[in-house]
Symmetry: C2
Subunit: 995 residues, 2 copies
């Protein structure tokens, strides 16, 4: 019925696109009456300007509150808008402090900030009045295309460029944008006299009808009046659940929204046509501050500033510095005694505090305050931390098992036993000499801590743990989706990025000469080819740098070790191994941390060069690059230690040399696992301590301190001054929200540490657990206190991060298989025990792993300088390998044992990989992605919804048929024709639901 | 506005469930006026019966066609239903033949069939009049619980039980159900005098308003009036696409709906409130026959027959035999000259015919006629067949490469060269004797056809092919989802199965004694435990049977071979190998085909025992079991041949014996690949030929022949009789549609054959391709001609089958890795060439693979009876293995070469598996799941939809503000206040869109 104008407007059926460029019908602007403050005179000037008439202004406050039309024409009635603006209840909070307009009634839902200059500076420059301000921008861009590369984050970029473009351009852009916003129905208030010098603020309020309209467009699911009972499972299950709930009660935060409700309102996408379904009695709480700011942001994104096709919304304006910041406001203050309770304060007390570290997080409240993406991040972090608890416990048990059994380990007993009297070949050329195997006793015993059968069990355990974690998260995510009413929500396409738009405009301008047809231009692969090429080159270069650093550390280790061997201090010599290992690991760590920061910047720069189309694509590409670089950076030294060290050594008499005379490193007799473990331990602990404490706590503190020192004299005054600031001014002083990617990235790398090489370091989950307990509260503090409130973004899942996690846990299986079979001594021991041991025990294993070397076979110049240091002449020395005896027909060739053990190792890899993969897939298949109670409730909701609609349908028929086919309606006839009932059915409706 | 009654009906907010059991308000039934035919007298009797008043009858024909209310009360107007029944245009097809009610106007959308008996038989049995007919059913069930197991498919079951329950029970169930349907607004017509004896038909018609209502509930996406241009990519891409289209024009079926359209209407879930968006001018075509039957079926499913809680809809009634069949009607006749064109005929001509085998399928038409699931099946089959073309070509090339290079293959040349004069150890104990290796020349040359380096390439190719196929299908599915307007559609939960409901009722009755509280009862694990146990036992037993049969065939082979060796016919002896292999493979094949049928029945029976809750769960469980059984059945002999044969042999002098004195089979010298190939070839060809031709073509033909012979005298009359049959009577004679599972299953097993062992049989894709070309048309014929029309079921994907395909293609990687490294000679050759060959060539390879055996080491009683058959005394014979020479210190132990080759084989498996998996994941990541043009168009649609709504919003404001805030509306003022324009904007609307 509303579509009647299709009949006499056949042009409607064509594409609507070109309407924007068509000549608009004349009409006096009627928007200025809504503007308050001193910006009114500007808009009056604009009243005769060309305007885009696509979106009409919304009549705001002047309708009668009951919204009734008393026209006699019945057919015009259906067009009556169900939602009309009414006056919001004056809440008596009209004082200047508080998130309201100066009238103390309209809530500020969003704030835009911009630089202002004195009005006199404007007038002599206003040459592009009523002109397209973007054209200027493009022209200036064309003259300096290198500017593009200077752009940082939109806001940072804005600050950088603030001096390079004319202020009046920006002012007119702003004026036009504000006009458009008014046309969209938003209400604005300006504050250019703020206490922060040089910054003007535009406060935006979304009236009720705009909220209704946008909620309908965005298909926001809202709770309806219909509630239903939530019942999980049968009585026994329910009782167990309640019992667990009671026991864990002290662990739950004291937040209302976190309690399980026994009833849940049925949710339905908001629709004004169906608004009788929704409980509209309390309008303030129906759209919370998060939802309001989200809605305003959607409008801001959509509102086009100029007639230029490619300029879209607030993101462009931020990118080009027209506005310097855009943020919703925090709910209130945290500190201060008389502050009333607000969600932010509640979050501060019950979540962003180290004193509640043992508690669950109030996820619902986080989501309510920060939106779904942030809520999902903390929910994910919580699930991950929770899942680390069993892993850490099992890891500690495995470690303790190693400690307890260290005295029963026959191979290390044999190594430590001086009666075995095994003479080993020298560890380096010339400088080193022969040594007794029993001197490696300590290392052998230490190795057993990390290289015992329990480790194999632990690897399998952790592989399955990773799968269980993923499954658990999937279910949790599904549950949150259900609770947060996101089922059925489809992720929306993003708007184009500013950079992309600018590039497209540039290309269009270039093409206009050759190609006068106004075809739609877009960036093709050829346009992006240079960026792709430089990306590949840079990525390859960066990875090479990482490799080079690792190689440098190797050379350092080799050199230092040889030097220390030569040194005559016995104390130095006895601690050689430990010293070298630890210093090398620390050098590696420092390299990793420094490169991490550099790589993050480079990845961002490379992604910018690519000019991705949308914000989402930008994010994905950036994450992908950062992940590769950081991952390579963090894991190269570890991979080297695990798989390459000690393998490319050669054998006595024919060692492998790199760069002239550097002989490659060997492992200790008990394998490289010990060194791998040290490296992992230092990397993990160091990274976490330094990055968390130094970067996330220390540096902000330091900055604050410096700032305070600069204005030390008036620190008292400053506090006083701060108190008088408006809410939006206070928020402006906080740091901008830059997305969750860095937080996720840190955790993903940690997840890699925990799963990838867990076979060599069972304590990794424990370290991760301890770190995360701090990390949660640290991040919470940052979000609550130090950052501007982020715009709520709807999301059903954690996106690309889930795929990265999944990929890591897949790679972990194969890496662990290789660590167990190649880095540890597990397989050789097993093979010895079952194939070669004379009595089925491990006795003789050490001897079995050592080959013989005839000292007369040394290459010239490599024999030790002090051959007699052990006190006797050495003719045969031993080295760790499976090679033929010098006396056989093929001396120093691999023995049959070598091949048999190799086959066993490889077979183990195949079996391990496939068994674990099969078990993972089985678990994946066994555990349904949607928890059963949730799927039951979703089903129930659908049935209830159907019933509701059927009921409504029935009522509709009856009411429609009141006049002439009433006999078809079955509700008892006594009710039906009574005029009293009809009235009573109609009257209560009018005042409550008509807005 | 429609929801005003919430105010004085607060009870609405509670759960609606118990309303059904509450006492219904009194009210005279008003439904009988709609019934035509001779069933009216029955409903009159029912008029005073208790009724479920949830759904009200729909006023049908009596409203004035323009649907205007001239009431003076404006506030009652909004409740006016936008859709009202109007008279359908009389099409002049009121003759008795045709899918219309006897009035020739209302289309028959659905047909229910039931058994009828003479009226006089009813009267003396009508004891449960107005009683709950299901209670009787339960009571009778309790006395004979074994009945449950007898149930087959609902329809079959219905036929079986038709004599066991009272006809009057069924009749009253029907009466009640029909009454409910009338209340739901459907229109019914009975035909109990049909030409098919003993069958009554209930024809159902859904009037326009019901269609509208249900379309809204089901959120059916309908094309709106707004169309937009579909443009794929830029000009070049578009031109290429057009060119390809032109070139392949003869391959496209001559069907309108298959042509690419340049414009596409914007789709939106149907909503009566937004009906001005939709093009309602041609009501007949808006809801096609498929959609109409789908809607009716949804209503039938939802309509509850009795007051018993668990009895839901038509599925229950079919299950309990109240109705014997339920089906929508076919569109028209296929044969006959004067038949007008209909979709069925078009499908028959352009799709279900062997003469168009080379053409694409008219997928859109298939979907339009049969619904989304059937459309998806054929689309999938089409994609699979299409993808088989490159695989078949490459396979043939690989095979030809083998043929061409057979003469250059050094190992087979060495085997064939009689100068090498290698004496082999006997193939069996006592009966066999020594033999010359050169006598195996033929086998060696044949083996080369399937065992050459190209095979390795082909395995990798096929693994990637499988991934590409999956990706291609995902994209195709996405495209179809877009074209079919399924984006955003969520799969709905199924209704409960009859068996489950019955079991729950049984349990409730049992529990009532102990537990008087009326708690909701459901089947728990304990209830299902016996079923699960018997499932595991039966599955294990079945798999054991399969293994036993394969083992039996092995024994057969061993015995026959020994016997043939003894036989003195030289002809027999020369063909020994070929004979044994072929007969064994055929025996296996017959076993497989017989067991296949048995297993299908057993799987169904086992699934029934489990009593799954919903149809979907039943289907999934059944598919899973059937898949496991059929898979094990088809692949056990192949797996044995590939991985076990020739491995558990032992060595001369110490052979491995099973069951007393059966020595395990050896492979030919060139490996078992040849035999694997023969087995695969026979299984594949045989299965396809026999199952396709015999079961799918032969047996139906035979049945028809038998039927015709039985009534041979009146075959002429029968044809005449058939012509006079009504459409629904003709359709009733066709077979019921039993789902797509058997079709999919056949294809999945074939996919397994194509991918799993493709390394051994490169011609498999070719065979599959040839089979599928026939299969498509065969299935098409079945669907168009021999089956009743299935109810359209919406589906976005092929569900569980995709997971099975994915699983198979994963398993294929590892299986192929093992086939190449262990079954073929690829790795030993490579190792020989690079490690042991003196000159880097393959010369000497045969000698290298053969070990030496001293004939004096034979166990007593196993030495050949005729040691001199070669004409000389043999002291050293050779056998294929890597074992030490009898003269060394450890005779007959594995050599170093054995272990080295084993390590190489295992390493190859790891490398192959991980490289292929990595490549697969890479391809998966590289190819976006959603084709770019589709995602662009979806994006465009969203924007257009937003614009449309914004426009509408604007219009709404303007119209609503006509009276008092008109100055806010910008459409030029000259238009706005003119009363003429207002009228012209209103009038054209009323007659067109008001229904």
């Amino acid at each position: 019925m509303e579509g009647r104008d299709y009949v006499d407007k056949p042009v409607e059926r064509q594409n609507n696109h070109d309407e924007e460029n068509g000549s608009p019908p004349p009409g006096k602007s009627s928007v200025d009456w809504l503007l308050s403050g001193d910006s009114r005179h500007e808009l009056v000037e604009l009243a005769d300007m060309r305007r885009n008439d696509d979106y009409l202004p919304v009549p705001g406050e002047e309708k009668s509150p009951d919204g009734h039309f008393d026209s006699g024409k019945p057919s015009s009635e259906p067009q009556k808008l169900p939602c009309e603006t009414i006056k919001l209840n004056p809440l008596g909070r009209g004082d200047s402090i508080g998130p309201y307009f100066t009238d103390g009634q309209r809530r500020v839902d969003y704030v835009l900030a911009y630089d202002i200059i004195k009005p006199d500076a404007v007038h002599h420059k206003s040459s592009c009045f009523a002109d397209n301000c973007i054209t200027r921008r493009i022209l200036s861009l064309r003259s300096s295309p290198a500017d593009l590369q200077l752009q940082e984050d939109p806001e940072v970029a804005a600050q950088q460029q603030q001096s390079s473009y004319h202020h009046d351009d920006k002012r007119f852009c702003r004026t036009e944008f504000e006009e458009k916003l008014l046309e969209m129905g938003l209400e604005l208030e300006k504050d250019e006299e703020s206490k922060i010098q040089g910054i003007g603020f535009l406060k935006i309020h979304a009236p009720w009808n705009i909220l209704c309209r946008e909620a309908e467009f965005l298909k926001l699911k809202m709770p309806t009046k219909k509630v239903y009972e939530v019942k999980q499972g049968n009585n026994i299950v329910e009782n167990i659940r309640l019992f667990i709930r009671k026991v864990t009660a002290p662990l739950h935060p004291k937040v209302d929204s976190n309690r399980p409700q026994s009833v849940k309102p049925l949710s339905h996408p908001f629709s004004r046509e169906k608004q009788h379904l929704f409980d509209l009695s309390d309008r303030d709480s129906l759209f919370g501050s998060k939802t309001r700011s989200f809605i305003v942001y959607e409008v801001l994104k959509r509102t086009k500033c100029t007639r230029t096709k490619y300029r879209e919304g607030i993101t462009s304006l931020l990118g080009s510095g027209v506005y310097t910041a855009a943020y919703p406001m925090h709910d209130g203050d945290i500190e201060g005694v008389q502050t009333e309770t607000n969600d932010r304060k509640l979050l501060f007390e019950e979540w962003a505090s180290y004193s509640v570290f043992y508690k669950y997080q109030p996820i619902s409240l986080i989501k309510k305050y920060f939106g779904e993406t942030v809520g999902l991040y903390f929910a994910w972090l919580g699930v991950y931390t929770q899942m680390l608890i069993p892993a850490a416990i099992v890891g500690v048990i495995v470690f303790l098992y190693g400690c307890v059994t260290v005295d029963d380990d026959i191979p290390s007993m044999e190594i430590c036993d001086p009666r075995n009297n095994i003479t080993m070949c020298p560890m380096c050329d010339r400088a080193c000499s022969y040594w007794k195997l029993s001197s490696a006793c300590g290392t052998a015993r230490a190795s057993h801590l990390f290289d015992n059968p329990a480790t194999v069990f632990f690897s399998i355990f952790m592989a399955l743990w990773a799968v269980l974690f993923m499954e658990h998260w999937k279910r949790r995510q599904m549950r949150l989706n259900y609770i947060w009413d996101l089922t059925g929500f489809e992720e929306e396409e993003d708007y184009f990025r500013t950079d992309y738009e600018l590039r497209v405009i540039q290309k269009t301008l270039r093409k206009e000469h050759k190609n006068p047809k106004n075809e739609k231009v877009k960036l093709t692969c050829t346009d992006r080819m240079p960026a792709y090429l430089s990306m590949f080159v840079m990525m390859a270069f960066m990875i090479t740098v990482t490799f080079a650093i690792v190689f440098g550390v190797i050379l350092y280790r080799i050199t230092i070790r040889a030097m220390l061997h030569v040194s005559s201090y016995p104390a130095a010599r006895s601690n050689i191994r430990a010293t070298v290992k630890t210093t090398a690991a620390i050098i590696n760590l420092i390299g990793i941390i420094i490169l991490d920061e550099i790589y993050a910047a480079i990845a961002r720069w490379l992604t910018k060069l690519e000019v991705p189309k949308t914000e989402k694509s930008f994010e994905d590409r950036l994450i992908f690059k950062t992940f590769i670089l950081k991952f390579v950076n963090a894991f190269t030294p570890i991979v080297y230690l695990a798989f390459f060290r000690g393998r490319l050594v050669g054998r006595p008499g024919s060692y492998l040399y790199v760069i002239g005379s550097y002989r490659m490193e060997e492992c200790a007799h008990a394998g490289c696992l010990m060194e791998l473990c040290i490296q992992l331990c230092i990397t993990m602990l160091g990274k976490q301590l330094i990055q968390n404490n130094l970067f996330e706590i220390g540096i902000p503190k330091l900055k604050k301190l410096l700032r305070r020192r600069k204005s030390e004299m008036d620190s008292e005054q400053e506090q006083e001054h701060n108190k008088t600031l408006q809410r939006y001014e206070k928020d402006h002083l906080l740091g901008p929200f830059v997305g969750l990617a860095p937080e996720y990235m840190e955790m993903i790398i940690q997840f890699g540490m925990v799963t990838l090489f867990v076979a060599s370091f069972p304590l990794a989950p424990l370290f991760a657990l301890l770190n995360n307990i701090i990390e949660i509260r640290l991040d919470a503090k940052k979000f609550v206190m130090e950052l501007r409130r982020p715009v709520a973004v709807r999301a059903k899942d954690i996106g690309i991060w889930y795929n990265l996690l999944r990929g890591l846990s897949k790679v972990a299986v194969i890496v662990n298989a290789f660590v167990i079979s190649f880095t540890s001594d597990f397989i050789p021991r097993l093979v010895y025990q079952y194939m070669y041991s004379p009595d089925g025990s491990m006795h003789g294993f050490v001897n079995h792993t050592l080959s013989y070397f005839n000292t007369s076979d040394f290459q010239t110049g490599t024999a030790p300088l002090q051959p007699m240091n052990l006190g006797y002449r050495v003719e045969i020395c031993r080295y760790k390998d499976y090679r033929e005896h010098p006396g056989t027909s093929s001396p120093y060739e691999f023995t049959k044992e070598f091949w048999a053990i190799l086959a066993a190792r490889l077979a183990f890899v195949i079996v391990f990989q496939n068994v674990v993969m099969l078990m993972s897939d089985f678990i994946d298949w066994l555990i349904p992605d949607i928890p059963k109670d949730i799927s039951l409730q979703i089903h129930k909701e659908k049935i209830l919804m159907l019933e509701l609609f059927m009921k409504e349908e029935q009522d509709k028929w009856c009411t429609a048929g009141d006049n002439h086919n009433s006999e078809k309606c079955t509700p008892s006839p006594s009710l039906k024709h009574s005029p009293v009932m009809t009235a009573s059915r109609r009257d209560p409706y009018t005042p409550t639901a008509n807005c």
